[in-house]
């Protein structure tokens, strides 16, 4: 019997149609993945099932869970179903738990709110499910608080809360998007095991096709609130009939052809760099401890070279980046840019040699300035910035180079999409023709199709301006296509470096091997034959 049956589901918020005629089903013990880009309605579908839609949203159609019509339930009826018959796991483990309550209390709450068992039994059950999700009692007693756990551990707690009452349906909305690849692999493994052990149906929402291909029995591809294609994973990936599915698949695996550039003299030299942070004192009168975020890191980036830096969160990538930008002091070693030492008191002449593009295309612009002013921000490092017609021409040329129109200079940042904003960020980095550009997770927040176009743009800019850049990312497939050489960082140290293709095809260090093994990969399909 079908566990979850969604038929002709439509959701509107005011006059805006969020979901249109969505139909699919999930059987017990089956993993169904909903995939698509942002705004495709994936999350809305999940929220509609549990009736957790935003206040003004209106849902029509039929959602049947185990024979119960969910859209006909009262709010009280839904409260009895949520957590009991259907559990849900969300994307952001760092914020999905209440910071002021212990993990034990939060897992027990699921049990107690449904009056499923008395308190002592609930406590025992909470302990049991935490053990089950891989948080054993000796290291993770019920009295732990969320801030004492890592992101992956918190996601395990969220999963424990969702499965505490053994619901028949588990909905997971981007459960691993915020996690590192190795943690992602572990969480996906856990979800797969739980489905097998408990015979649950799992509805997983993810934008990552590689995760989908690896995990799901069936796939649902969504676009603009509608299902464009669905079917069994292997069959669907082989027969992709809808152009959107093919586009998604191609974009996820997008390869660019970087123009060959002669790597000449060293541009950036990092020698035995050390960065320590002070940690809180152990007691009131003892000396504060130190945490070594960057430990004896050395590498050289030659002019014309495209260097990648990969590693998990907390490995020291960002700290190293900030030190290269002269935003943080070093406690040992040195960094030289174009022969000049980099310090926290850089002169404008040195400062303009390096520019940076950050991850968040929404947070890295002042919303009250026009694009014209935003992209010319680095001009303050120039001794005689262009004025008048030269100023306008340079803005127009740079905006054109990143694929925007010169007219966009007069617009405000909220008038642009995420991908366009990242183009503006690249224009801002490019406008003073710096020697070195640092891309700090610059494509991580973008949809696959947008990401593919930004990667194409980078390849074009390499051809036009012979860029030298340092590309920092946790996404191995992106680094593989967009860099010549790469560094692998772990616990503040560079554990492996070499030609990108060599590092990926024949990793030497066990950690690199582990990283590459953990990264989900798209199956090798011959798209032309389909």
């Amino acid at each position: 019997m079908t566990l979850l049956d969604v038929t002709s589901l439509s959701v509107s918020i005011g006059a805006f149609q969020v979901l249109q005629d969505v139909s699919f089903h999930v059987d017990p013990g089956e993993i169904v993945a909903v995939t698509g880009e942002s705004g495709s309605g994936k999350s809305m579908t999940a929220l509609a099932i549990l009736q957790l839609l935003p206040d003004l949203a209106e849902a029509k159609g039929y959602i049947t869970l185990n024979g119960t019509q969910l859209l006909e339930q009262s709010e009280d009826g839904m409260c009895a179903i949520r957590g009991q018959s259907a559990g849900m796991v969300f994307q952001e483990p760092m914020t999905a738990l209440n910071p002021v309550k212990t993990i034990g209390a939060q897992v027990m709450e699921t049990i107690l709110i449904h009056k499923a068992m008395p308190r002592e039994q609930a406590e025992a059950r909470a302990r049991e499910v935490l053990d089950r999700v891989g948080l054993p009692e000796d290291r993770f007693p019920l009295s732990r608080y969320p801030h004492e756990l890592s992101g992956g551990q918190r996601q395990r707690v969220v999963i424990a809360m969702a499965i505490a009452l053994r619901p028949k349906l588990l909905i997971a909305d981007e459960p691993t998007t915020a996690l590192d690849v190795t943690t992602q692999a572990q969480i996906l493994e856990l979800l797969r095991d739980l489905v097998q052990d408990y015979g649950m149906g799992l509805l997983i929402i993810t934008h990552d096709l590689a995760v989908v291909a690896d995990l799901a029995d069936r796939i649902l591809v969504m676009r603009n609130g509608s299902v464009v294609e669905s079917g069994h994973t292997v069959w669907l990936l082989r027969n992709m009939r809808h152009p959107y599915t093919r586009m998604l698949f191609e974009a996820s695996n997008h390869q660019v052809a970087l123009p060959q550039q002669p790597a000449t003299a060293p541009l950036l030299e990092v020698r035995n760099a050390v960065r320590d942070y002070r940690t809180p004192r152990e007691s009131l009168f003892c000396k504060p401890g130190t945490f070594r975020a960057v430990n004896d890191v050395s590498f050289t980036l030659n002019r014309g070279e495209r260097l990648g830096l990969v590693g998990e969160s907390g490995c020291g990538k960002s700290t190293l980046t900030r030190a290269i930008l002269g935003l943080e002091p070093l406690q040992g070693g040195e960094i030289r840019l174009d022969g000049q030492p980099v310090t926290t008191h850089l002169k404008p002449a040195s400062r303009r040699k390096v520019q940076v593009v950050f991850q968040d295309p929404y947070g890295s612009f002042n919303p009250r300035h026009k694009v014209e002013r935003l992209v010319t921000e680095p001009f303050h490092t120039l001794p005689d910035p262009p004025t008048g017609a030269a100023h306008r021409d340079l803005i127009a040329e740079t905006l054109t180079a990143v694929g925007l129109s010169p007219d966009d200079a007069q617009k405000y940042i909220h008038q642009f999409s995420g991908g366009q904003r990242q183009r503006i960020a690249i224009a801002r980095a490019l406008i003073t023709r710096p020697e070195l550009i640092i891309f700090d997770e610059a494509v991580s927040a973008l949809d696959v199709s947008v990401r593919a176009r930004i990667l194409d743009l980078l390849a074009e800019l390499c051809a036009a301006y012979a860029l030298t850049y340092l590309f920092i990312s946790h996404d191995l497939s992106v680094v593989r296509t967009i860099t010549d050489r790469c560094l692998v960082m772990r616990h503040g140290e560079i554990v492996e470096q070499g030609e990108t293709e060599a590092v990926f095809s024949n990793p030497q260090h066990p950690y690199t091997q582990q990283l590459i093994a953990a990264a989900p990969v798209l199956p090798d399909l011959d798209l032309g034959a389909a």
Binding site: C79, I113, Y145
Partner: protein
Amino acid sequence: MLRYALKRLLSLILSLAVASLVIFLVVEVAPGDPASFMLGVNAQPDTIAALRAELGLDQGKLARYLSWAAGMLSGDFGTSYTYRTPVAGMIADRLWVSLPLALYALTLSTLIAFPAGIYAAARRGKPGDLAVMGATQLGVAMPNFWFAMMLVLIFAINLRWFGAGGFPGWDTGLWAGLHALTLPAIALALPQAAILTRVMRSALLDILGEDFMRTARAKGLSRRQALWRHGVRNALIPVLTIIGLQFSFLLAGAIIIEQVFYLPGLGRLVFQAISSRDLIVVESVVMLLVFAVITVNFLVDLAYALVDPRLRSRT
């Protein structure tokens, strides 16, 4: 937790030491000689000099600071220049009015603000919310002395439920004392309650948008259960900050309300002391208020740690 408390305590002691020095120096540089002020414009220079010696004003600044600070530590606040009575006694009398009044007002303001703020947040944008927000707008805008006079007009003069002013003393009984302080406490509390309601509402609205509130709903909690179990405690941090600030204000800033109701409180004492250059009283009262403010901040810090486990582990 203990380390956190000790660290806060150390910072409290240091703050008090620095504050006492600053207060002493500021009062010292203020123009006007207490001795000549006390003796009037026609006093002879040698009479003034004799009085200065008697008051200890001829000693060096450091010696006077040390004797003042040491005296205060042992409960001896010196002798008032104007009234020639021990300052400690004067302050104690006034404190017995001001402190209960401040606590009374703060209790009222909290009792009003918590339910009102939670009610408004739970009904965001609905008529109930709009009504509460309108009322708080009025409460913030209304001058409290005018409001105090209206209270006197209605409840003392027309309805005769309360006296129009004055304080009979706690000797007449707890109930009589509280009864006399009720109108002043309401006059002080309502504007504070209006501010606190707004803070509670906006803190709670911020929390309602958090991911963990959605997690709570996904577990099967109703809106109301999620609000009470996960919302209120997380919203307390900004609310506690405002409560701390309000207590300090209520203790020292009640001067206008004390005037309207003829209450012998600290505000009136310090006002009179400043007018008559009674520096020793001014110094002592200001020091006492600083002590109260810093102590309240210390208690607020401890309350933060009780509310939020992340602060307990941070040192």
